[in-house]
Every structure is written in structure tokens, then in C-alpha cells.
């Protein structure tokens, strides 16, 4: 009996250790890729040199090379930090969405949020209309994208509030709404000038090219609030995974929890998407890889997905920057890497855990 207990304790210790190691590994990869991302680009800056410049700046030392300092600090670092914040946000969004809807293929965009944001951006870019009339340019796009992305999310929340919905229905309704919004965006794109068309197109693919120091605090705020709410709900998420009836008998109001999370994820995704456009598959894949290593306990799944999402997106962005003559939108890279992984997941779904 005692032997059993101590081996159990041992097992538990290893389990926790594995989680810690995994998180540390993810964070180190993200930090390494940060340096890589900063040193990549037309202007040659060494890998270690870029860390040196960042550390010098943080310590308040006068930069030796003004030009390099400008490129690193003003141009490349915001993009790298944006990648980390966005990746983390999409990672937790995906983890929560999958546990909540009990579908391994759900991702933050399943609520149609991304299609709403694309439409908002298209309205701003092509028609030059903004919901807050005095705004123009970049801000108009962001504001429109944010508010428009809340429309499909609201529709889904309303449907799931007034109709007795199953998780499947939420997913399919999200897709239905997405189809409608995409059609509207297509209509706008049809009348667009070639220049604005290219802008909207890149937007729908998703890119980190517009990151700047001004955007970062907002995105980080959204991500941090999102992490806090989802993390505090992670126990409830564990219970939801056992089915609505079991959840109710354990004192968790399944519908209300789902609604809270849906609203949180909608705001989180809207906050991210309005700055970057639709970056697919990160929210889908990060939680899956985490599940392979750590299992489905949401208390660990959520933070680990955030860490891994950040690492994945910044690595993808490094590839995107180097690909082609002028670089590609990062969404293209995540789709090309993510698509096959997605299919593997589907084939692996025979495992009982999800059915």
C-alpha cells in the first residue's frame, strides 16, 4: 500500500516535471526565435548582435550604431513581439474552444470572428467607411475589424443562448455565418481597385507586417485578459469535457460557462485579428501538440498552448520573412504547415478521447 502510494507520488512528480520542462522548452524556443526573427531581414544584423542591441536598449546604454538600433528596436522587434503575443492569444483561444465545443478541429475562428474582421477591414480599405467617422487609415481598419468581428460572434452567442445548442451546432452555425460574411467581402473585393484589393487579400491571409509599438500594448492587454479569464475557467472546462449532464450534476452551469468562454474568445480573437488579419491553424495546432505531450488537463493545457502558440507563430514568421524575394504573409506559412498537421489529427481521431 505504502509502496503504491510512493510510486503514485513519484508518477505525479514526473507528470508535473514534464509539464514544467515542456513550458520552459516552449519559452526558450520563442526567445531563440525572437533573436532569429530580429536578425532576419534585408539589413544584415548578427544573431547575438541583435540580443546585444535589445539588452543595451533595455539597460539604457547609448546605441553604438544608430542605424542598427533603429532597425532592431523600431522595425523588427515590434513584429517579433507581436508574433509572440498573437501566437499566445490564438493558442489559448484554440485550447479553450476545443475543450468547450468538445471538437478537436475547432479553433478561435470557428465562431466566424475572422470573416467578420475581414469584412470590417474590407469596408474600411475599399469603401473608406469607418464606424467611428473621424478615423482614417490604419486606425479605421482596426476599429472596423474589431466591431465587425463581434457581429458573427454575437450571432453565435445569441443562437446558443436561445436555442438549445449542441457543440456541433455552434461550429456549423459559425461556419454558416462565415460563409455569409465571406460572400459579402467577395462582393466588396470585386469592386475594389487593384491596390486596395491586394491590401484586403493580404489581410484575409493574415500578416504581421503592420506591427508597431503603438499596437502592441492593446494586443497584449487583450491577450492577458483572455488568458486570465480562460485560466480561471480551466477547471470548469475540464468538467465541461465530460458532457453537459455530468457538468450540471457537478454544479457547473454548462450553458453559462460556454457563454462566458464564447464571449471571452470572441473579444480575444477580435482584438488579435483586427491587427493582423486571419492567421489560421495556430490556434488549432498548438493545443494539439500540447495534448500529445501533456494530456487534456485544461489547467496545464491552456498556459502550455499559449507558450507553444507563441513559439510556433514566431518561427513561422521567421520562415515567412525569408521566403520569396520580399517575404510572404505569415498566414500562408501557417496554412501550409498547419494543413497537413490538421489532416493527421483528423486521421488520429479514432482514439476514444474525442468520440
Amino acid at each position: 500500500m505504502e509502496v503504491g502510494l510512493s510510486s503514485l507520488k513519484e508518477d505525479y512528480r514526473i507528470y508535473i516535471l514534464r509539464k514544467t520542462v515542456f513550458m520552459i522548452a516552449c519559452i526558450s524556443v520563442a526567445l531563440l526565435a525572437l533573436g532569429l526573427s530580429v536578425s532576419f531581414g534585408k539589413y544584415e544584423i548578427g544573431f547575438f548582435e541583435s540580443y546585444g542591441i535589445i539588452i543595451d536598449h533595455l539597460r539604457g546604454i547609448e546605441p553604438a550604431d544608430e542605424m542598427k538600433h533603429y532597425i532592431v528596436w523600431e522595425l523588427r522587434l515590434p513584429r517579433a513581439i507581436m508574433a509572440i503575443a498573437v501566437g499566445a492569444g490564438l493558442g489559448i483561444g484554440g485550447a479553450a474552444m476545443q475543450s468547450m465545443l468538445r471538437n478537436p478541429l475547432a479553433d478561435p475562428y470557428t465562431t466566424g470572428v475572422a470573416s467578420g474582421a475581414s469584412l470590417g477591414a474590407a469596408v474600411a480599405i475599399i469603401l473608406g467607411i469607418c464606424l467611428i467617422p473621424s478615423l482614417t487609415g490604419q486606425y479605421a481598419i482596426v476599429v472596423n475589424a474589431f466591431f465587425f468581428s463581434l457581429i458573427p460572434a454575437t450571432i453565435i452567442v445569441l443562437i446558443s443562448k436561445y436555442k438549445k445548442t449542441t457543440p456541433t451546432m455552434i461550429i456549423l452555425a459559425g461556419i454558416g455565418v462565415m460563409y455569409i460574411f465571406s460572400a459579402t467581402t467577395s462582393l466588396l473585393m470585386l469592386i475594389a481597385e487593384p491596390d486596395s484589393l491586394a491590401e484586403v487579400y493580404i489581410w484575409t491571409v493574415g500578416s504581421l507586417g503592420r506591427a508597431s509599438w503603438e499596437n502592441i500594448p492593446l494586443v497584449i492587454t487583450f491577450v492577458i485578459i483572455g488568458i486570465i479569464i480562460i485560466q480561471t475557467n480551466s477547471r470548469n472546462l475540464n468538467i465541461l469535457a465530460m458532457g453537459d449532464k455530468n457538468a450540471i450534476s457537478l454544479g457547473v452551469n454548462a450553458l453559462r460557462t460556454r457563454l462566458t468562454l464564447l464571449v471571452t474568445i470572441a473579444f480575444l480573437t477580435a482584438g488579435i485579428v483586427s491587427f493582423t488579419g486571419t492567421i489560421g491553424f495556430v490556434g488549432l495546432i498548438a493545443p494539439h501538440i500540447v495534448r500529445i505531450f501533456l494530456g487534456s488537463d485544461n489547467r496545464y493545457l491552456v498556459p502550455a498552448s499559449a507558450a507553444l502558440g507563441a513559439a510556433l507563430l514566431i518561427v513561422a514568421d521567421c520562415i515567412a520573412k525569408e521566403a520569396g524575394a520580399t517575404g510572404l504573409p505569415v498566414g500562408v506559412i501557417t496554412a501550409i504547415i498547419g494543413g497537413p498537421i490538421f489532416l493527421m489529427i483528423l486521421l488520429k481521431m479514432r482514439s476514444k478521447a474525442w468520440n
Binding site: 478541429l105 456541433t168 460563409y179 467577395s186 462582393l187 524575394a325 500562408v332 486521421l347 481521431m349 479514432r350
Partner: protein, 368 residues
Amino acid sequence: MSGDAGSSEFSSEDMKEQYHSYILRKILFIILCFILVIILGGYALTIGGREIAHLDVYRILWEHLNGAEYPRGTSEWWDDYIVWEIRLPRVLMAIIAGISLSVCGVAMQSMLKNPLADPYTTGMASGAVFGAVVAIVLGMSFTTAMGMYGIVGNAFIGGLIPALVIITISKFVRTTPATLILAGIALSYMFNALKTLLLITTNEENIQEAYIWQIGSVQDAVWADIPLMFAMTVIGSIFLLSTSRQLNLLTLGDDSARSLGLDASQFRTVCLILLSLMIASIVSFTGIIGFVGLVAPHMVRMILGADNRFITPASMALGATLILAADVVGRTIVAPGELPVGIIMSFIGAPIFLYLIIRQKKGYGEVY
């Protein structure tokens, strides 16, 4: 006893009567669609720069078919030329695309036992478009064929990839409609990304081209496009119509199908290749026209009930009507400009998709 026999005879008469009116309603539906196609098609032939009256169009077509020849340059010659050479291919393309895509939709729904399957939602159309873009942009062919056949060949291979993926998945995993549609979306995402990659790296200004490829339209139709898509549609439709019994068996599951004498996996492979060919031959010329394969069979089920013998022919008729109507609407509401039929179909199809999900009733083909 005799009284009993009499009453039973009466009720069987009654039943026959009911059955006849039931069959009649179905046949009437198909005839109605047929008439609509003729009226809409005739109307579509009147749209354009040169004014030609609706009824004249039919006369011109009839006379052309009877081998009428006009001296070059006369007014009759121009009427004939414009109707026959310029406007008719577009109408025919819309009709053929409508028929082909709805047949594919019906077949896929039975094959995958999934009411939300269609060439668009399963990603097959995106795969085919990607294949076609490879042929157009890189001038590269997966097969040895060149030119138009090279494009269609590539589209075929491109469409086959998602088809294989979906079939493999649905064979090994018990997919719900949600899973299938998500897989379809992921596949189309991936193919879109690859297409973007291709077009951006070859030429930065090609985004517009990439985009225009994405929305289906029949506006560039010419006679040269018609024979191939027509042939594929005829072959495919005849095969699928004549095997509708086998398709029905597939919906019972592979084991039941086998015990009833059907080699399910072999039959599915044949269907799959045929469907990919049909979709490729359409998509290579029109781009992606979504939802026809989804909307037509579902509307038929709502109107006529779920009788599989009629769903295929009725969907073909309705599909042709739908695309033709969408094209006419697209050309008239913003005249003299026009909206591609793909966009109009999305506006019709997407709300119906949503409706099917939110308000499901038994008997229309349950959504999940």
C-alpha cells in the same frame, strides 16, 4: 366478407390514386424546372449590347438549328452570330455547371453519408482550382497533356487530393458533419495558401488574378469550352443516375452494402474518380461556384420529400435553374456591370446552409 374485400379494394384504389398524384407532383416539378430553364435561358440570351427580343431569340436558335444561312454582314447574320456564338455558350455553361455540380452534391451526400457534403464544402473545388492555377501560372502540367486538357488534367489531380483525404477520413473515422466541413475548410485554406504562394512569388501583381480565379463566373464562356464539360457531365450523370440504387445502399453502411452484394469500397473509388473528373471539367472553366451541390438537393428534399429516386434528376433540373437564375440576376441587378454567379450563389447558399443547421426538421435529411 365481401364487404371487407370491397373496402380493401377501395382503399387500394385510393392508395394507387395517392401514389399517382405523388409521382405526378415529382414529374411536374422536373417539368417546371425545365420550363424555367428555357424561359431564363431565353432571357439570358437577350442580355447584351444588341437589342434582341425574348421571343426572337427562340426563332433565331430554331432557324440556326435548321441550318439557316444569312449573307455576311446583314442584320439577320449579326443577330444569329451574337445569339449563337457569343451569348449561347454562357447560357449552356451555366446549365451544364448547374447540372454537374448538383449531381456531384447528391452523390457526395450519399457517399459520405453526410447531408452537408458538396464539392465546395469538402474542399474539392479549391483543390481543382489550385491544380488549374498551377497549369496556368507555371505552365506546368501534372499529366502529359497540354493546353486546355493540361489545365483540366491538373484540376482533376488537384481535386482528387481533397477527395481522397475526405474519403480516407470518412472511412476510418466516424465523421460528423461538423468534422467533415471543418476538414473541407482546412483543405481549402491550404490550397488557397499554396495558390497565393504561387501567384505572389511569380508576379506580385497577380493577386487580382488569384482572386478572380477564386470566384466562379461563366462570363468568359466560349464554344470551345463546352464539349469537354458537356461530355463529362453526360457520362457522370448517366453513371450516377443508373447507379442510384448502389448509392442508396452506400448510405446503409459498408457492411450492409456488402451483404446486399455491393463492393462498397470499389464502387466508392469509381464514384470518386468520376466525381473528380466532373468537378475538374467544370471548375477549370468557371472557377469555384459554391453551394449548388448543397442547396439544390436540400431544396428538392424540402419540396418533394426524401425519395432518392427523384432527388438526383430533380436536383439536376433545379441546379441548372439555380445557376442560370443566379447568372441572370448577377447581370441585371448592377447592369451594365455584372456580378459573378459565384457570389450570387454564395448569397443564396450561405443563408440556406445556416438555416439547415439552425432549424432542422426530420425528413429533410437530418443535418446531424
